[in-house]
């Protein structure tokens, strides 16, 4: 791999894949900034993220502050809510197309979802209705997201996903472990880490102990990719996963400290970040979200949420497959 790094803000990283044959330089990633307030970069660790594409805003579920903080497209905090104790132990946040905000809170083996208006004012505590037995017990969501008309409640440990409407009425669900053919033992020993929903309503998720990323369609068709290894495009300990409007898939690798880019055919295109302490580097990336050409990456070591701009300079040509 050959890379030019010019340091600091708006540094430009020219990325090419180390593969044979080497693809053209299709992607460029530029580190922009770290989510900040007026005191500087906020030293988050492994926080949950959500984006409001309409408002070009980014949301962070801040468990330390027990609040949700909102950032504009320049990465500056513009608003926060929940710090009055409305939500207690905040775990995750999701933003609906309508602008409504959903906040997931957890305490031991119980959970609560609060629907808020666009200002973060709590409007209703969702009373989960119509949950089938397999979602009524042994189902404690630890992350949420919104797609279409549904709230996705995700228990990454049991690999179950429940879809509800904005009121909490159950619509459908995915038992991803069963869909993948995992035994109960395999589910309990593995679980998934990254989770998101793409524009087509496909579920994207990672299972690091199997060194794999998966795409499950609403019709329960399964596709997967990933190969164990430490060279570009391969998986060590994969975590966050998300897609952009073109169908490119971004996968964070917590151990290799990179974000990998795959096209819609799962062909590896490029990666960026890399372990290091420069502003554009990454330390143990975990969750990520994509908003247009911006990629937001939550890290460890109190390095906060780094924001990159990714340029796709020409249509993707198939290169190396699946990591």
């Amino acid at each position: 791999m050959y890379k030019i790094y010019r340091g600091m803000l708006l540094s430009l990283i020219l990325v090419t894949a180390l593969a044979s044959p080497a693809p053209a330089a299709l992607f460029r990633a530029a580190y922009l900034y770290t989510l900040s307030d007026f005191n500087g970069a906020i030293p988050y660790n492994w926080v949950n993220l959500a984006v409001d594409r309409r408002g070009e805003e980014t949301y962070v579920a801040d468990p330390a502050g027990r609040s949700v903080r909102v950032f504009n497209d320049s990465g500056m905090e513009v608003y926060r809510f929940g710090d009055n104790g409305d939500f207690r132990n905040i775990t995750a946040v999701a933003v609906a197309d309508s602008g409504e905000i959903f906040v997931l809170s957890r305490s031991n083996a119980s959970y609560a979802v609060t629907r808020c208006d666009y200002r973060g004012e709590p409007k209703a505590r969702l009373a989960m209705k119509g949950l089938p037995p397999e979602y009524a017990t042994d189902f404690v969501p630890d992350t949420i997201c919104w797609h279409g008309d549904h709230l996705y409640l995700v228990d990454r440990n049991t690999m179950k996903v429940a879809l509800t409407d904005r009121e909490g009425s159950f619509d459908s669900g995915y038992e991803l472990g069963t869909i993948l053919g995992f035994s109960k033992k395999q589910i309990s020993e593995s679980g998934m880490v990254g989770f998101s929903v793409d524009n087509e309503g496909d579920l994207l998720f990672t299972v690091p102990v199997f060194f794999s990323a998966y795409l499950v369609t609403p019709g329960h068709q399964v596709r997967s990719f990933g190969m164990r290894g430490s060279t570009p495009g391969k998986f060590n300990i994969v975590s966050g996963i998300a897609s952009d409007e073109r169908g490119n898939i971004y996968v964070a690798d917590t151990l290799r400290c990179v974000v990998m880019i795959f096209d819609r055919d799962f062909s590896f295109q490029a990666e960026f970040g890399f372990r290091g302490l420069e502003p554009g580097n990454l330390i143990a990336p975990m969750e990520l979200v994509v908003n247009h050409d911006r990629v937001y990456v939550a890290q460890s070591r109190a390095r906060g949420v780094s924001v990159y701009r990714v340029f796709q300079t020409q249509p993707s040509a198939t290169s190396t497959k699946g990591g």
């Binding site: 890379k3 949950n48 031991n108 440990n157 069963t178 997967s224 300990i237 290091g276 420069e278």
Partner: protein
């Protein structure tokens, strides 16, 4: 590179047949680039070229993490507030969002980042996070060296050098080679530390030894939890003052396959066999021994060793004790994982019979049983000072039938939580309902000593 897979469920079954969550270590050394990187420099900067170029360094020991423990925690830490099998740290808890919720027998390292403030009889008091466990230095996860205890209590191991690899051999060299539990470590001649168990030739490891699997005539199994054995001295600390090669064998113990779980309904019983205290003494050499005051010794320290069998009175207490004021229990139901003991055997087959999480093995102690370090302490961390399993700083563990906490509606109970919330206190008891104890339960020292 692997082509994208379009799979039916049946095809996925085939795919999964080649792997499992335990495949990462499998009782021995994992694949190299799971922890190390061979070709990447720090920040992925290009290596210098030309005769005068400076070659940029990678991370020390070519680790993928910033240090040894960070490398481990990249996989073994989680944001998820729910117990999962291989996770031993809840990162969100450290941020104050949730209580530590991994319930491995060793405990959740998140407790070492949880500091509690409370009033003790009018005096502002702090229970520092660093008092709650082994402060394995992990820069990527904000775990720093213990600022108070610069060396291991009872020993000389420097706090600044404490890492996961201080106890666990990441290369998994130690192996059990026969039914009697013989541990060997093969080393190339001239490269070992002259440990008594070093041999030039040994059986290959074919799987974990933590869950009761037996070796065969041709394949060994790993030792319990990849713990280091005689001669173990990581290269990273070779030559560091105060650090000596391990002298003791890894302990004999067997865990149930599912061990990271709430114990609200049934205990997670690790069947500890023998050797745990001796192994802890690799670093904590002088903190406990078998020459205790109760049998004529003069050290005035609590016994903890394979020689420290419980004795008739303690044995009777353990098996009869139910809770404060209730000594009506029987040996058949006496066991509690809050106060475990060693069975005094290295018979792995027998230990495996007892290593369950379904409540089917509640048998108490017998004349072979002995007290060990883990009878009172958790190996990784707990919610209490000195990483004890319960607090010894209050008279009561429960107040009026409930766990105490700062948020208790019973104002007289609030101080007994020592700055913790009720949820946090219950988490230290691995989610047991308070009703398993007396309405005013006193210290679990009484499981053995029955003074209440």
């Amino acid at each position: 590179m692997k082509a994208a897979k379009s799979l039916t469920a049946a095809a996925v079954l085939t795919l999964l047949a080649s792997g499992s969550a335990f495949a990462y270590h499998d009782g021995g050394v994992a694949y190299c680039d799971g922890c190390h990187t061979m070709h990447n420099s720090s920040g992925n900067k290009a290596m210098g070229t030309g005769s005068n170029a400076t070659q940029l360094k990678g991370v020390t020991y070519l680790l993928q993490g910033s240090d040894q423990s960070s490398t481990c925690l990249n996989c073994h830490a989680t944001t998820s507030a729910k117990a999962g099998s291989y996770h031993i740290m809840t990162t969100d808890a450290a941020a104050g969002g949730t209580v530590p919720s991994n319930y491995t027998p060793g405990g959740d390292f998140a407790w070492v980042k949880e500091t509690f403030n409370y009033n003790s009889h009018g005096t502002p008091t702090t229970s520092l996070g660093e008092r709650h466990g082994h402060n394995v230095v992990a820069a990527d996860f904000g775990i720093t060296p213990d600022s108070t205890l610069s060396t291991a209590p009872g020993g000389n191991y420097p706090a600044a050098n404490l890492a996961c690899s201080s106890c666990h051999d990441p290369h998994g060299k130690y192996r059990i080679v026969d039914a009697s539990g013989t541990v060997q470590r093969p080393v190339v001649a001239g490269t070992g530390y002259n440990g008594a168990n070093d041999v030039a030739v040994s059986l290959p490891i074919n799987g974990s030894g933590s869950y009761g699997a037996a070796p065969t005539t041709t394949e060994a199994v790993g030792v319990y939890r990849l713990l280091g054995g005689p001669g173990y001295l990581p290269d990273s600390v070779a030559g560091v003052a105060g650090i000596q090669p391990f002298a003791a064998l890894p302990p004999y113990a067997v865990a149930p396959a599912a061990y990271n779980r709430s114990e609200a309904s049934t205990d997670t019983r690790v069947a500890y066999g023998t050797g745990m205290s001796e192994w802890c003494a690799n670093c904590h050499t002088n903190i406990h021994n078998s020459t205790a005051n109760y049998d004529g010794g003069t050290s005035l320290i609590h016994p903890a060793s394979s020689d420290s069998t419980l004795g008739a009175n303690i044995l009777a207490n353990y098996n009869a004790y139910v809770s404060s004021g209730n000594f009506g229990g029987t040996v058949a139901g006496a066991y509690t994982s809050m106060v475990p003991f060693e069975e005094g055997t290295n018979n792995r087959a027998n230990l495996a019979l007892h290593a369950v999480n379904d409540g089917s093995q509640k048998g108490g102690a017998d004349s072979s049983s002995n007290v060990m370090c883990l009878s009172c302490h958790r190996a990784h961390a707990s919610g209490w000072d000195s990483m004890t399993r319960w607090t010894n700083k209050t008279e009561f563990l429960t107040v009026a039938g409930a766990y105490p906490g700062t948020d208790s509606t019973n104002t007289s109970a609030q101080s007994y939580g020592l700055g913790r919330t009720m949820n946090e206190v219950q988490a230290t008891f691995y989610q047991r309902p308070a009703t398993v104890y007396a309405t005013y339960q006193r210290s679990l020292c009484n499981k053995c000593h029955a003074k209440d």
